[in-house]
């Protein structure tokens, strides 16, 4: 095993890790060695052909359908330079005050996080899309909300030179979506931060002057053909770093720390794992819409989030994802897919509680296993969200609405005044309704004691002054908005603690 020495090793190049290396660029400029390890590869836009099956395999872990143990929910997260920012839609929302205040963590201040998040909004060119770039699918969402007297909020999206190909979740073929691979990582590399791809960190452990990483650089052929080789020769490396920052995401960070043996001293490691379970609803209109063209998302309705724990957003997905998300099968299911050009789509998302038994563990090979169940309050929130979405569709003029928690699933305009009765928890059977989550959080929660948390409010793992966490796994509870800006703001906050340690 070859030995490598460095000052800071960062594990994972997504929203968290990408942000950390950008903040540590000043160390690299000052001559310190900072290395970013990413287990996936670096993909460029020439690989993004917009085909669902190719891109799901190329960009997502488990093809975008990583199952939780009871198979009631599938998780979507990505690997490769940029992590899940390669496939995110770019909805750029600030950390909500209510949630950050509820965290009640010394040193984690809402105003400070917002200031950092605002800076990333600017860095990522997040802005409101101008009217002509808004497609019919988004316009109908707005129209439906307005007709109901509800406030549809237009939110900023982080695009530059967007052509409106609507393929954001399959990798942007136009380099227009500003992820960490586009913005923060190139800036860090220009300052001298080293990037090592196809480099999976198997374990981290304490050394004499920091941490020691066991890194495996892969040369295995990729199932999807030729991909870039790693910057390092394939093989195993022992990397000695003064400071180690773990940013593998909410599934992999807890798993890495568990297989490294930290679970013995940290009883809540992997626990309080949470997400925003979501599913798609479609409304059928009488004429074709611009839906699969134009940036997919610009509007949300979140007025009920504090009370009813849900929010809903305009969205658009591709035929297979749509087929998967509609409940059922058979002639009616296929008929709706044939109406694809006339479909309006809404994503409903529930804000979940973080519970100790919802957790990440590892299997015999040290790989993550997610134990997560849809709890009754979450199902209730999804049903309420479905009712709200159904109202928006009808108010926007839809002829029919497919609601997974109704039986039969198709609501017609005759059902318009009976939505509350037609959509019911009774019909929401985990396992038969397609629920997926792309906003994953917790597992290495911040806090003040070892009994209730994994890290300090500055992301330092309790009892390990050389080891930090800087990604979505830090969230003590679920956040009530799309999370990437909060992840970046927190990662930046952790990076300040790392800078302070390195400057001593």
């Amino acid at each position: 095993m070859s030995r490598i020495d460095c000052d800071v090793a960062v594990i994972g190049s997504g929203a968290g890790g990408g942000t950390v290396v950008a903040a540590l660029a000043e160390l690299a400029r000052a001559g310190k060695r900072v290395i970013l390890f990413e287990k996936g590869t670096k993909l460029d836009r020439s690989r993004f052909n917009g085909r669902e099956v190719d891109m799901a395999e190329l960009l997502f872990e488990a093809g975008g359908s990583f199952p939780v143990v009871d198979h009631s929910v599938t998780l979507a997260f990505s690997e490769g330079v940029g992590g899940s920012t390669q496939v995110y839609t770019g909805t750029s929302l600030l950390p909500p005050k209510r949630v950050i205040e509820r965290w009640n963590l010394p040193g984690v201040d809402h105003a400070d996080l917002c200031e950092r998040a605002e800076a990333f909004r600017v860095q990522n060119n997040a802005h409101l899309l101008p009217g002509p770039d808004i497609n019919d699918n988004n316009r109908l969402f707005q129209k439906g909300c307005e007709a109901l007297g509800w406030h549809a909020e237009q939110f900023p999206v982080n695009v530059k030179g967007c052509k409106g190909s609507s393929l954001c979740n399959l990798g942007c073929p136009n380099d227009a979506k500003m992820g960490t691979q586009q913005v923060q990582i190139p800036a860090a590399r220009a300052a001298g931060v080293e990037l090592v791809t196809r480099a999976k960190v198997r374990t981290v452990r304490a050394g004499d002057a920091g941490g020691i990483l066991d890194v495996e650089v892969s040369a295995a052929p990729h199932p999807h053909g030729k991909i870039a080789q790693s910057e390092w020769e394939p093989g195993r490396y022992e990397v000695h770093a003064h400071t180690v920052v773990v940013a593998g995401g909410a599934v992999h960070s807890p798993a890495l720390l568990l297989r490294s043996g930290f679970g013995l001293d940290l009883p809540v490691l992997g626990r309080y794992w949470t997400c925003q379970p979501a599913h798609i609803l479609v409304g059928e209109h009488d004429k074709p819409l611009t839906n699969a063209i134009g940036h997919p998302k610009s509007f949300l309705y979140d007025q009920r989030v504090a009370e009813d724990r849900y929010f809903v957003e305009a969205c658009m997905y591709f035929p297979f994802v749509t087929a998967k998300n509609l409940t059922g099968f058979g002639p009616e299911h296929h008929r709706l897919l044939k109406a694809y050009e006339r479909l309006q789509m809404i994503l409903v998302l529930a804000c979940d509680d973080a519970l100790p038994d919802q957790r990440v563990t590892i299997d015999a090979a040290g790989e993550p296993v997610v134990h997560y169940k849809l709890m009754p309050p979450t199902i209730t929130a999804l049903c309420k969200a479905t009712r709200a979405a159904a109202q928006i569709f009808f108010a926007a003029g839809a002829l029919a609405v497919h609601a997974p928690s109704a039986r039969p699933t198709l609501l017609t305009r005759a059902d318009k005044d009976h939505i509350d009765a037609r959509i019911s928890e009774r019909h929401f059977l985990p396992g038969s309704v397609s629920v997926s989550a792309a906003h994953l959080m917790g597992g290495c929660r911040m806090g003040t004691t070892t009994a209730t948390s994994v890290t300090t409010p500055h992301g330092q793992v309790h009892g390990q002054p050389w080891l930090y966490v800087a990604d979505a796994s830090l969230f003590p509870t679920a956040i009530e908005v799309n999370p990437y800006l909060t992840v970046m703001a927190l990662a930046d906050h952790v990076a300040q603690a790392v800078l302070a340690r390195e400057s001593h």
Partner: protein, 146 residues
């Protein structure tokens, strides 16, 4: 080539797949095997136990109707096939619901990701977005009024 996981069960799978996605009935054997081959590629990266569970589940779906209707799934009339699968989809046993969900999702993967099928539904990826749409519209207008 990916290991054959569901392909060897094509005769048992065909009536199930046709019930779940009616236009699969129009596919010839070669085209249906292509659908299954794509599923096998997806399953190749999964633990072998999953393949075994799926094969077992296909056999359960095939033979379970014998207890209710004295016929295998393939021997049921199309309406009864659909009713049988719908009953399982909403049954109280989560494992059975998950099995139906998983199998139908794989069949959707094999069928609805085909670019020709997607085009027939009215979808095709336009990498150049609005520009591409405008060009197509101009072309169509030109074809109507050359």
């Amino acid at each position: 080539m990916a290991a054959a996981i569901l392909t060897p069960l094509h005769d048992k799978l065909r009536p199930i797949a046709e019930t779940m996605v009616p236009p699969i009935a129009d596919l010839d054997d070669a085209a249906f095997l292509k659908v299954l081959a794509l599923i096998d590629v997806r399953l190749a990266g999964e633990p072998p136990a999953l393949g075994r569970q799926l094969r077992l589940f296909v056999k359960v779906l095939t033979f379970l109707p014998i207890f209710f209707a004295l016929r295998t799934f393939g021997g049921l009339a199309p309406k009864r096939r659909l009713a049988f699968l719908e009953a399982l989809q909403d049954c109280p046993i989560q494992k059975l619901r998950v099995g139906v969900w998983g199998l139908r999702t794989l069949i959707y993967l094999g069928y609805y990701t085909d670019p020709e099928v997607q085009a027939a539904l009215g979808y095709r990826p336009r990498l150049d977005g609005w520009e591409g749409l405008a060009r197509e519209k101009a072309q169509q207008a030109h074809e109507v009024h050359p």
